[in-house]
Amino acid sequence: MATVTYRQALRDTLRAEMLRDENVLLMGEEIGLFEGSYKITEGLLKEFGPRRVRDTPIAEEGFVGAAIGAAMLGLRPVVEIMTINFSLLALDQIVNHAAKIYGMFGGQASVPLVIRTPGGGGQQLGATHSQNVELFYAFIPGLKVVAPSTPAEASAMLKAAIRDDDPVLFLENLALYNTKGELPDAIDAVEPAEIGRAAVTRPGTDITIIGYSRMARVAAEVADTLAAEGISAEVVDLRSLRPLDRETIVASVRRTGCAVVAEDDWLTYGIGAEIAATVQEGAFDWLDAPVRRVAMAEVPLPYAKSLETAALPSAGSLLTAVRATLAATGRALEPAS
């Protein structure tokens, strides 16, 4: 095992998949000569050349659409969209074409496409550059949306996404790129993940905290803090937003009796709304308190640090919500021994 960053895991996996399958090619803005805005594709142009590592003009709608067309003929394009905010320019191609072609033509052509793109706020990039709109894609039947939170998951899930015959939106996060984790020395030893499976990344008995991407890591951090106080929090990392693993979520809440959802997007109609509805339908009789959601304040995110910090969910706000939820259960908590 080696300790690598999330960034390195992505890079090494892309490389391994390109070596494995000649039909895998990369497209995106600044991924070649510039080696990627966030350096995920470092060295790949040098190694594979411009036929397989394609710098595109600033034309999200055009190159995503072109990738969809290429996928229809059997290529496996992996497209990088610099941040998820810019995917909005390609929304039509993703929603009206990538997600529809298999069904609309009676299953005659599939679209084995991967769109890699980071979300995330907190870097003072302002309202248009700090959004978390993965919901737009998770809403669409025909698309798959995965959101790994560790280097190992990122590698396993990227492999699965590239080998999958359907369009997959692969959500990364700016705040995760430098985070570290274990990965087998030989990248070929990484087994492709099963898309659509959540994981209990930390077992616990008192409360379930459900998160994905960056917030799954924040949830783990909060669970550590709570453990020091003798509170046992279980963390469910969704890992996949569509398909959604409702069984794992519900089974956890049936064990703990209460839940808080941690999400980086907005609350109203957000990912957490779907999770809370799922818990209500599947674990109503087990619930000791209402399900709470911790999400971004519902504003176009301001640039000023004071306002940005107040608007974004954090370990602190998650901790507050967890404590309030535990209090609402009316359970007498045993003091830490």
């Binding site: 003009p57 600033i58 302002g126």
Partner: protein, 391 residues
């Protein structure tokens, strides 16, 4: 050629508008029409001859241009320093190398003309007449900034100066500018809307959609492509199948030209022609200003993708040094004058940084003040830790 119903409808609606200040238009003539500039058909061609007779520039005007260019230069250098000191966050894109283009373009506008830009817009804000203090305060994210600290470096806005925004989504401003020009023309005004963008932006679908609409509807808009040779790290030749970007106007029968963006007077003249044509004839124009980007894409980009030769060549292209030399050669800028101007603009920029630093960050109680212009019932005014229902 037969006119489409849409176009005749738009045209007659325009002619029927009351108190229309513009000359009414005759039948459309193929571009370029008589009296219009002949766009050069080779790359790097000179600026078009100005058809607008202009009085020769006085020494005062020329030195004034130099002063504004130097203000932009010193402002950007100060901003870069503040960024490395973490006074400025997010992304910070500078106009270093584009000073002649910035100042020349703004000199062609009347104060009431409107301006849309991309996120590389500090210089435009200054040259449009906004105080350096309020621009710097915005970069610092302070409530005294032009956008009250909500926008930051990429999103400067000032209604009074008619700067209708810097925009961070590449190409976002182009259709907006066409729409603003529609509003001006619809109301019968004679202001012009200028829309600045980068070379890389001409690959975006919205650019083409907006230019087509502006040409079809005869909108008083001047689209300016600042060709600094690069979109982030991608050279124009690697992102544009037709790298002579001004030629894209032909696809919309839009008058267009290319000008040397390091020559402030040439830029001003070319822009004046475009602006006055938009004003008097209500016809859009596409102007390309070729102007180097002296540093990285943003403050944090070391621009390793550029060769040493390329970086060396940039020094000769520096428009500020070039203008100083020209004015000195013409005997209207002595070394003492130059030093005095430098000291003055440097002091102005330092004062702006001090003002910004002393200004407060917006108060958290204002977080929900600008989500909607009209109060909404049931608006979610909750912070992340707050429950949906309090009770």
């Amino acid at each position: 050629m037969a006119e489409t119903p849409t176009r005749s409808a738009a045209r007659s609606a325009g002619e029927a508008a009351p108190a229309r200040a513009r000359r009414s238009r005759g039948p459309r003539t193929p571009r370029p029409g008589p009296g219009l500039p002949q766009p050069p058909d080779t790359a790097g061609a000179e600026a078009p001859d100005t058809a607008v007779p202009a009085a020769p520039d006085t020494a005062g005007t020329l030195v004034g241009f130099y002063r504004q260019m130097l203000l932009v230069r010193r402002f950007e250098e100060r901003a870069a320093r503040a960024y490395t000191e973490a006074k400025i966050g997010g992304y910070c894109h500078l106009n270093l190398g584009e000073e002649a283009t910035v100042v020349g373009l703004m000199a062609a506008l009347r104060p009431t003309d409107y301006l849309f830009t991309n996120y590389r817009e500090h210089g435009y804000a200054l040259a449009k007449g906004i105080g350096a203090d309020r621009v710097m305060a915005e970069l610092y994210g302070r409530s005294t900034g032009v956008s009250k600290g909500w926008g930051g470096s990429m999103h400067l806005f000032d209604a009074e100066a008619r700067l209708l925004g810097g925009y961070g989504i590449v190409g976002g401003q182009v259709p907006l500018a066409a729409g603003a020009a529609l509003a001006v023309s619809y109301k019968g005004g004679d202001d012009v809307v200028m829309c600045q963008m980068g070379d890389g932006t001409t690959a975006i679908g919205g650019f083409h959609e907006a230019l087509n609409i502006a040409a079809l509807w005869d909108l008083p808009a001047v689209f300016v492509v600042v060709n600094n040779g690069l979109g982030m790290g991608t050279a124009v030749e690697r992102s544009a199948a037709e790298p002579e970007l001004w030629k894209r106007g032909a696809a919309y029968r839009m008058a267009s030209a290319r000008v040397d963006g390091t020559d402030v007077v040439a830029v001003r003249d070319a822009a004046r022609l475009a602006v006055e044509r938009a004003r008097s004839e209500s016809r859009p124009y596409l102007l390309e200003a070729v102007s180097p980007r002296l540093k990285g894409h943003s403050v944090v980009d070391p621009a390793r993708y550029r060769s040493k030769e390329e970086k060396d060549a940039l020094k000769d292209a520096d428009p500020v040094a070039r203008t100083a030399r020209r004015l000195a050669d013409a005997g209207i800028l002595s070394p003492e004058d130059r030093d005095r101007i430098d000291a003055e603009v440097t002091a102005e920029v330092e004062a702006a940084a001090a003002f910004a630093d002393a200004s407060p960050q917006p108060d958290v109680s204002t977080l929900f003040d600008y989500t909607y212009a009209t109060p909404v019932a049931g608006e979610q005014r909750r912070l992340p830790a707050d429950p949906v229902f309090r009770s």
